[in-house]
Structure formats: structure tokens, C-alpha cells
Symmetry: C2
Subunit: 379 residues, 2 copies
């Protein structure tokens, strides 16, 4: 572990300064080159696989280090979620759609809940009452922390709305949004909105039923590193719109965002860096002209699909879209519960990748089949 | 000036750490993007021009930032002078050829001089005598420093062997090697080898005739920054061969090289970094597949042409080779002395670049000619 330990490394902006997409790509370039040399495997083709941020890295690595790999599967890679390339509201709109799709009542309950939450937060003893309703370990200091905690749950639920049980961000049942909404909707008449909301998010934060109380300061998803990256180069402007969203109205304010980064990490973001480094507004023409052998996978349930590449760009930079898929579901381990569409899209991905490999071997590598054929021809 | 001042910046490995090819490319990406935004010139195409190290940067920028420019003129860019891509002896062999081409006697005198220099250096009062012969300001502490000073002069002379007078590294007459060799050859019979050598290099180090004495510790070419880069990522293994070279026999020893870097700068080089970052052994296939719109210019008198791209790689990654050209002569200011071949090769470069520009305008930019034609058609 460089920099002593993970805790140490994450505690100093001096070491965090190395936590960048460019450094990650350079690290992979060195690692892959050295691995191949050390294993006497220089001629072996490398295929890159990555999901989410890792998917962005995979796609970007094809652009920046085309000599290191023969292709990349960039799964749920929101490489367009920067500056003004896609509408700012798209992420929260997609999350909201996922809930609306399961139950209009559930969507409406969540939508109504923020006002009640604020009102209760401002009332006498309201924060104490809220803390009890939501089984928090500490009494709330503001209702905002609770709003954030709930909003996070909904966003993460949309990302992991897989049709099979999973344990990616949290242990969860199959189709967790359906489950959350069932819990919100099924409460007996007279149950308050906020009690319904609690019953819903309890599925996300406590599916195993082992949590006694919730600590809002907890970082169950280990996002500390991402927070740093979001405060340096991965600035993704996101707004919550009035019309389509179930979230509290929220307008991205770059000034406030930057000030918070200075407060948290002592750094000011470079909001235009990613498009400068990798292209952005013209990414399809860049990918068309200078890219090859990239699969962009996106599931449309995944709110990150809003910033993804959803259309074929060229004959070898292609999009695979799963209408019922969530965040990088193609890269999840195969299970017996996998629906047919998932099985067959994985097969399509494999087929495309095998073309890359035969192209590579055809273009100068050693193709064992051919070698055998030649032996036969010579004998 | 960042880091306080140039002196300060060059004095600390903390600030020198930013002196890398990758940082330079990123700086240009930000500068060009910001310039275009600030000048409301986002749609204007950018063409990159660079010579020598700048030529490498221009070529590499087309690979790493294809969205920032429409093409690059990479003049005398030895992007292959790394690891074992080209023969290690090629640089000094090419320098030697340039001298042999002017005068076999001159070549032979230089070739013979090293032994005499060593012998005199080892003799009683030899260093004092050498210091006098070569008009040095201080008495030599070893003959090696003098050998290095002479070798540098020959290498630089080969780089700037322009057919017109110039003032690039030093003020020099047209065809300076011819001049140096004339001085070496024309001395009256009985002139010692080392006196001849002095008469020769005096043309390089003192063409203006204003230098009273030579200070070997002087850095007349401002190479301090390059020395740092050579000790970090720009490791170019160079050997001086027995057979074709007029230089003292010298075998590149990476261990010694690295130790000297630790002594000078406290850093250990990364000798394989450049090929990892930009490709190298497979550079033509990388350039063919992922590059476009690059002109590689090389003059064959230039010893750096040994590490240059001398053959067309694709229809838009092309090589222009000038048999009588020295280091990035195409980018030197036009003069009345310019030979016809130089005038016409500059025209070829312009023609190629104008194709890039019309391609760019045709592909979505505004072509003023077309706009005018449309106006006419509409009227």
C-alpha cells in the first residue's frame, strides 16, 4: 500500500492528489506492460473491462493508450455527464422514473415527503421525533442530513434495481425498488407519510434486519475517494427538476459546490478538465475518428445511463442498451435468476470481443488454430 | 512565472517534477481550449507546430488530444530514440557522417584527437597545456571535461549544419561543418592535431570572435531543463561505435546513467516510460490506426533523424525527408539564402496543412469560400 495505509493516504491532500483518472490510466499502462513483460506475454492481447467510473476509465484508456489493449467493455460509463453535454436534470429524472414505473403512489408519497420532513424538522421537538421515526442513532441537527440520506437511498436503489437479489452496494432482494414501494404503499391506512418513507428505505439500509439504528455520518459505500474526485476533476453538474422529479427541487450552483470542496478538502475543482483531457462535446466525432473496439453498455433503469453513450458511433465503437437493466448489470456475476435478455446480451458482448481477438491475431499475433492448420498443410 | 522564478523552479525537484512531456501536453490542452473560449474562436481549427522535443510533443499531442487540434507538423521529432527501437549508435554515426562528408581528413583528425588529448591530459603539466591550447578560463581538472565540450560542439554542429547563416544555438556561418573542417584542414603543416581541433571548434564556440576564454561549466544552450527530463523520462540510450564514429568509444551503461541522475537531481529515471505512455516499438501501427494528420519532417544531416519517422505511415501520417536538411530547418525563418529544395518542401507542408483545414471546414466548420458561393447561388 503506497503512502503507508489507506487511512493515511485518504487523509492528506498530498497523497489524494494522485487520485485522478489520468494517474489511474497511467498506473494501468505500467501495470499491464510490466505484467506482460514479466509473464513473457508481450504478444497477448489485453481486453479492458470496467463498470461505472471503471467503465469511463476503460473507454478513456482506449483513447489515451490504444497501444496497450485491443478493446474495452465500458459498462455504465457516464462519460457525457460533464459540463452541459447532457441535461442536468437527467440523473434524478431517471431515478424518479424508476419509482414511478413501479408505483405511481410510491412516487407521489416520496414526492410529498420532503415538505412534511421540512415542516416536522422546523416544529418543536421535530428533529427528535424525526430521529425516532427513522431509528437514527443520534438526534438530527437538521432535517437536511435526513433528506440527503433518503435521497441517496433512492439514487442507489435505482442503480442497483437488478432483477435478481444482489449484494453490490447493500444486500438487497431482487427488484429492490418494487420492494421499497411495496413497503411504502402497503402500510395500513392512517400511516403517516414519513412512517411510510421509513418503511421503504429500511429495505435499502437494513434488508438483513440486523441494524439497530442508523448513523447518518456513516459512509457505507466507501465514497470518500469519489468525493475527492468529484471535488477535483469529476464535476458532474446535477439538478433536480420541478416537473419530472420526486426529489426536493435543487439547482446545481457551481459557486456553492466549489466552496464546499474548499471546505472539505482545501481544493478548488477544475470543472472543465475532463472535457479538455478526454474530449466531451465532440466525443462522438473523437471516438469515431480515433477510437475503436469499445462496447458501451447501458441499462436504462440506471440513472447513470443519462450520461452514457447510447448509440453506435462507428462499426467498432458500439452501444448495447438493456431497457430493463440497471448499473453495469452485464458485469455482475451470472446467476440462475438471470433473465434471458441478460444472458443473450452477455453473449453479444463476448461475440464482439472475440472479433477483436481474431482481428488481433490475424494482424500479426499467433493464432493457434492457424498454426495447427499450417502444420497440417505442411505435413 | 509559476514557482517564483525560473531559477527557483529549476532548483527544486518539487517544481521540476512538473517538467514532463505529459504535463506539457496537458498545459497546451488547457491553454488552447481556454484561448479559443476567451477569443470566441471555439470553431477555429488549431494546427500544432513543433521542432525537436517540441516536435515530439506535437506528434504525441495528436495521439493524446486528437480533439484539440486538426493536425501537427512534427519537425525533427526523434520519437523512436528510446529503448532499443533504433540502433544505439545511430546518433553519433550520423554526426560523424556529416564530418566525413565534408572532409575525410577532418573526420580523421577529430577521430585521432581523443588519444592525443588523453595522453596530453595524463602528462606532466598536460592539463595546463591543454587549457592554454583551448583558451580555457580555468585550468582543466580532467581531460574528460574537454572531451565532452568538444563532443558537444560536433553534435550541435551536425544539428545546425544549415546551408545559410543562422543563430539558433550559436551565431554561425552557412554550412558550419564545412567551415570547421576548413579550419582544421587548412592549418600549416606541422600544426599539432589538438591545435587543429581548437581552430575547428573555435568556429562553433566563438564565431563572433568576441570570446576571450571558454568556461566549460557554462551552459550556453540552456540545457538544464533537458538534463532533468533526460534523467526522468526522456532516457535515450546512445552509444558511440568503434567503426563509423569519430567520437571516443562509448557504451551506454544504464546503471551508471541512473546513478548520475541520482547524484545530479536525486531522481532515478523511468527508462521505459515513454514507450509505455506513447507507444514505441509498435508506433507505426498505433499511428496508422489511431493517428491522423501528422507531418514528420526530417533532415538527414540532423543526427536526430536517426530516431525520426522517415516513412509514410498512412495517407495522412506522412514523412517528408530532406537529404540536405539539418535539425528542423523547415521551421527556421525563411531567408534569401534558402535553397530551392527548402522553399519547395515548405510549400508541400503548407499544401498538406491546407487539406487538413478544408477537411475540417468541410466536416462542419464554416468555410468562407463556400459561404460566399452559397450567397451567390441564393441571389
Amino acid at each position: 500500500m503506497p503512502f503507508g495505509s489507506k487511512d493515511k493516504a485518504y487523509n492528506s491532500s498530498r497523497s489524494l492528489a494522485h487520485l485522478t483518472a489520468e494517474q489511474a490510466l497511467a498506473d494501468y499502462a505500467v501495470l499491464l506492460t510490466d505484467l506482460k513483460r514479466n509473464l513473457s506475454a508481450q504478444a497477448s492481447p489485453v481486453v479492458l473491462f470496467g463498470g461505472s467510473y471503471g467503465g469511463m476509465l476503460a473507454a478513456w484508456m482506449r483513447l489515451k493508450y490504444p497501444h496497450i489493449s485491443v478493446g474495452a467493455l465500458a459498462s455504465s460509463a457516464p462519460i457525457l455527464q460533464f459540463e452541459d453535454i447532457v441535461p442536468r436534470a437527467i440523473f434524478y429524472d431517471l431515478v424518479s422514473n424508476d419509482f414511478k414505473r413501479e408505483s405511481l403512489g410510491c412516487f407521489q408519497t416520496i414526492r410529498d415527503s420532503w415538505k412534511e420532513l421540512d415542516e416536522q424538522g422546523n416544529a418543536q421537538d421535530g428533529l427528535l421525533k424525526l430521529s425516532k421515526t427513522f431509528h437514527l442513532c443520534q438526534t438530527l441537527k437538521s432535517s437536511e442530513a435526513l433528506s440527503d440520506w433518503l435521497s441517496s437511498a433512492y439514487s442507489y436503489l435505482a442503480m442497483v434495481d437488478y432483477p435478481m437479489s444482489s449484494d453490490f452496494l447493500m444486500p438487497l432482494p431482487a427488484s429492490p425498488i418494487k420492494e421499497v414501494c411495496r413497503n411504502i404503499d402497503k402500510q395500513p391506512e392512517g400511516t403517516s407519510t414519513l412512517e411510510r418513507i421509513y418503511a421503504g428505505v429500511n429495505v435499502y439500509y437494513n434488508y438483513t434486519g440486523t441494524v439497530d439504528c442508523f448513523d447518518l455520518d456513516d459512509d457505507p459505500h466507501g465514497m470518500g475517494g469519489w468525493d475527492w474526485q468529484a471535488c477535483t476533476e469529476m464535476v458532474m453538474p446535477m439538478t433536480s427538476s420541478e416537473d419530472l422529479s420526486m426529489f426536493p427541487r435543487y439547482e446545481f450552483d457551481y459557486g456553492l459546490y466549489a466552496d464546499n470542496c474548499v471546505k472539505s478538502f482545501g481544493v478548488r475543482p477544475r470543472p472543465r478538465w475532463i472535457t479538455t483531457e478526454f474530449g466531451g462535446h465532440n466525443i462522438s466525432s473523437v471516438l469515431e475518428k480515433f477510437g475503436s473496439n469499445i462496447i458501451f453498455f447501458n441499462g436504462l433503469l440506471d440513472p447513470w445511463s443519462g450520461g452514457g453513450v447510447l448509440k453506435n458511433i462507428s462499426s467498432s465503437v458500439v452501444a448495447i442498451v438493456a431497457p430493463l437493466g440497471a448499473h453495469h448489470i452485464d458485469l455482475r456475476p451470472a446467476t440462475k435468476e438471470d433473465p434471458d435478455w441478460l444472458v443473450s446480451l452477455r453473449e453479444s458482448e463476448l461475440e464482439i470481443i472475440s472479433v477483436w481477438l481474431s482481428d488481433h491475431y490475424g494482424a500479426g499475433g499467433v493464432l493457434f488454430q492457424n498454426a495447427a492448420a499450417n502444420d497440417q498443410a505442411a505435413s
